[in-house]
């Protein structure tokens, strides 16, 4: 490859998903008369917000060449916990803080299992906490949904407050914070270095284990943040919440250009990935496409995006 081509390559890498999203939006505008309305676009943003938040957590660990299968279960267990605390009369802020703390804690546990117990791959440690978390959610809830949250809490997290859809506002704040964290702080840059070449990062003096712990803790935090929005949106905590959500979150990060091989991935790309999934589902609903076909289409998009990731990796290795 010549140096002249490189900027174009980088540009394409950034623009590919964005172009896909733009095409999707333009196509849907022609295909359905109900699509291009302010209300529908707000609906998509609302519907995408939880997956987008989870995808941020997933991005943190995917950048380090890891994965977090437990994020859906973290959402489930903190969702139930939050509902129990709220129904038993805790102040909403205290309940949210407890849920976020728990998410952070489970994430940290994922990190410690990986870095201290030296389990061979995060797939295994997070597969473990995924099951423990789901079981804990069912145990905590006694198997049934806990509903009847206060109107104040619901509008502040899942509904509209000050005229703005709060799930979207919360997701936007999280995205801004994550972007600043990854691009403007030493910790964030360390994550890229670790994912790019762990041994080199260690030799360069980066405290690899502590940074990995941080990445998994942040992923757990994102799970709990998703749980808060979900509780507000659905007026309840339910133990099966977020079953399979880890997969959509991974898909969003990957479609958005993050690489399973580590070291690559941006907050902006992840947002686009989450929106592509959200717009696809919304558009397919508006067009009356059955759930069977929806699964086929979304599956194809995921496989297509990951396949391209593989191609790119193969390319960089041969260069």
């Amino acid at each position: 490859m010549t140096t002249k081509e490189q900027p174009a390559a980088v540009l394409w890498q950034r623009m590919g998903p964005l172009l896909g999203l733009a095409t999707l939006i333009i196509g849907l505008s022609f295909a359905s008369p109900y699509f291009l309305t302010v209300e529908n676009l707000l609906n998509v943003l609302r519907q995408s917000s939880i997956n987008a938040i989870l995808a941020l957590g997933q991005l943190m660990v995917i950048i380090t060449a890891g994965i977090d299968l437990s994020i859906g279960s973290v959402l489930g267990v903190t969702n139930v916990m939050l509902a129990i605390l709220l129904v038993s009369g805790w102040h909403p802020l205290a309940a949210c803080a407890a849920a976020l703390g728990t998410g952070l804690g489970i994430g940290l546990l994922n990190g410690v299992l990986l870095t201290r117990l030296r389990l061979p791959h995060p797939f295994i440690s997070t597969l473990g906490t995924m099951n423990v978390g789901r079981g804990a959610a069912l145990l905590l809830a006694g198997g049934v949904p806990i509903s009847g949250l206060s109107m104040g809490f619901r509008s502040a997290t899942g509904g509209n407050a000050f005229g703005a859809p709060m799930p979207v506002v919360i997701a936007a704040v999280a995205y801004l914070a994550a972007h600043l964290f990854l691009t403007r702080t030493i910790w964030g840059r360390d994550l890229y270095a670790i994912g790019g070449n762990r041994e080199a990062a260690r030799l360069a003096g980066i405290p690899v284990e502590r940074r990995l712990n941080l990445a998994y803790a942040l992923s757990g935090f994102a799970g709990a943040l998703g749980a808060i929005v979900l509780a507000g949106r659905m007026n309840s905590g339910f133990p099966l919440a977020g079953s399979g959500a880890e997969l959509d979150a991974i898909a969003a990060a990957i479609i958005g250009g993050a690489s399973f091989f580590g070291g690559v991935g941006t907050v902006g790309g992840t947002l686009i990935g989450a929106l592509i999934i959200g717009f696809l589902r919304n558009g397919l609903n508006l067009l009356d496409v059955s759930a069977y076909w929806q699964m086929v289409v979304i599956g194809c998009v995921i496989v297509g995006a990951v396949f391209v990731d593989v191609l790119r990796q193969r390319g960089t290795r041969t260069v």
């Binding site: 490859m1 081509e5 174009a8 394409w12 890498q13 590919g16 998903p17 172009l19 896909g20 095409t23 999707l24 849907l28 022609f30 295909a31 008369p33 109900y34 309305t37 209300e39 609906n43 939880i50 069912l138 198997g143 949904p145 009847g148 979900l230 949106r233 659905m234 007026n235 309840s236 339910f238 079953s243 399979g244 479609i255 250009g257 592509i276 696809l280 589902r281 919304n282 558009g283 397919l284 609903n285 508006l286 067009l287 009356d288 059955s290 759930a291 069977y292 699964m295 289409v297 194809c300 998009v301 995006a305 391209v308 990731d309 191609l311 790119r312 193969r314 390319g315 041969t318 260069v319």
Partner: protein, 314 residues
């Protein structure tokens, strides 16, 4: 070089998907017709297919009405059902016919629909929804009780087991409650195990294997749907085919009816999903036309046993 090519491919892959979507599925415009949206819990079993058939029957000959049927991938994807409902409201559906996948969780979005003047008819599963126009479904408690009476009649004394659906799912919970209530009237019967299997066949199999291990002397099992009952049948056939354990299911699906004819299952409580689809959508049509509907439409239950199974065979 390779990098330029592959990243271009990434863009192209997404583009191709979008193109496929737009060209292949362009049937969103409703040509001025009124849309009735049917949103089942999933579309993964004969039961829901029969509901859809009944719904299609109801709109036959109504050229001014379009029936749109969309469902989540799986019954546990409650948040996906909420998204579908939001999208159906958005596209201007004139009436919603909904089987709530979680009674508490879908209430807010349905309240929103009612607030906009879109009538909501619940089907199969009821929910505490103020302002709903009607609920068309089985009396699940009565159905569970019917299953219990059959077990009491066939077993008399001994240990029995209960396999229930996704916890918190109202209709499954009602079946279990109705069953337990009636079983209590038989002092000789003891409910030794009570486990959820999320309405799935594979889980029904595993749960039944565990029950057989923990309670080798179990005499009968009631599963709150046929998928789980058929899973339990598999477990019993491979572990204790000679024990004569009685399996009672719920729904009387084609497979369950065949199992009853073959003697592998003892009975199943028949719901009438076709009637649910037909009568709920008829109610929605009436509401669109400005007529009133009954607040509760009972679609009935009947016990299917070896004696009458042949007549249920499709």
């Amino acid at each position: 070089m390779t990098i330029t090519l592959s990243t271009t491919t990434r863009g192209a892959a997404v583009l191709a998907m979008a193109a496929l979507l737009v060209t292949g599925c362009n049937r969103g415009a409703d040509n001025g017709k009124k849309t009735i949206a049917l949103v089942p819990k999933a579309m993964d079993s004969e039961f829901w297919l029969a509901v859809r058939k009944g719904a299609q029957k109801a709109v036959e000959g109504r050229d001014d009405v379009t029936l749109s049927v969309l469902a989540p991938d799986r019954e546990i994807n409650v948040d996906q059902q909420v998204s579908i409902l939001e999208d159906q409201i958005q596209r201007g559906a004139r009436a919603l016919v909904v089987a709530p996948a979680g009674s508490a969780q879908v209430v807010p979005v349905l309240q929103n629909a009612i607030g906009r003047g879109i009538p909501v008819v619940l089907v199969d599963a009821d929910a505490p929804l103020p302002g709903k126009s009607s609920y068309a479904g089985t009396d699940n408690r009565a159905g569970g009780s019917l299953a219990a009476k059959h077990v009491i009649e066939r077993v008399g004394t001994g240990k029995i087991a209960l396999i229930s659906g996704v916890p918190g799912n109202q209709s499954q919970d009602d079946r279990a409650a109705g069953f337990l209530e009636t079983i209590k009237t038989a002092p000789g019967l003891q409910v030794a195990a009570q486990q959820p299997a999320n309405s799935e066949r594979s889980l029904g199999l595993t749960v039944m294997e565990n029950i057989l291990t923990a309670h080798p002397d179990i005499k009968a099992v009631f599963a709150t749907n046929d998928q789980m009952a058929l899973g339990a049948v598999e477990a019993i056939q491979s572990r204790k085919p000679q024990a004569g354990i009685i399996v009672v299911g719920f729904d009387a699906t084609g497979e369950a009816v065949q199992a009853i004819i073959d003697g592998r299952m003892s009975a199943s409580v028949a719901q009438r999903p076709f009637e649910m689809g037909r009568r709920s959508v008829e109610a929605a049509l009436a509401l669109i036309d400005g007529r009133t509907v009954e607040p509760r439409i009972d679609t009935g239950t009947e016990l299917v046993t070896a004696a009458n199974a042949a007549s249920y065979k499709k």
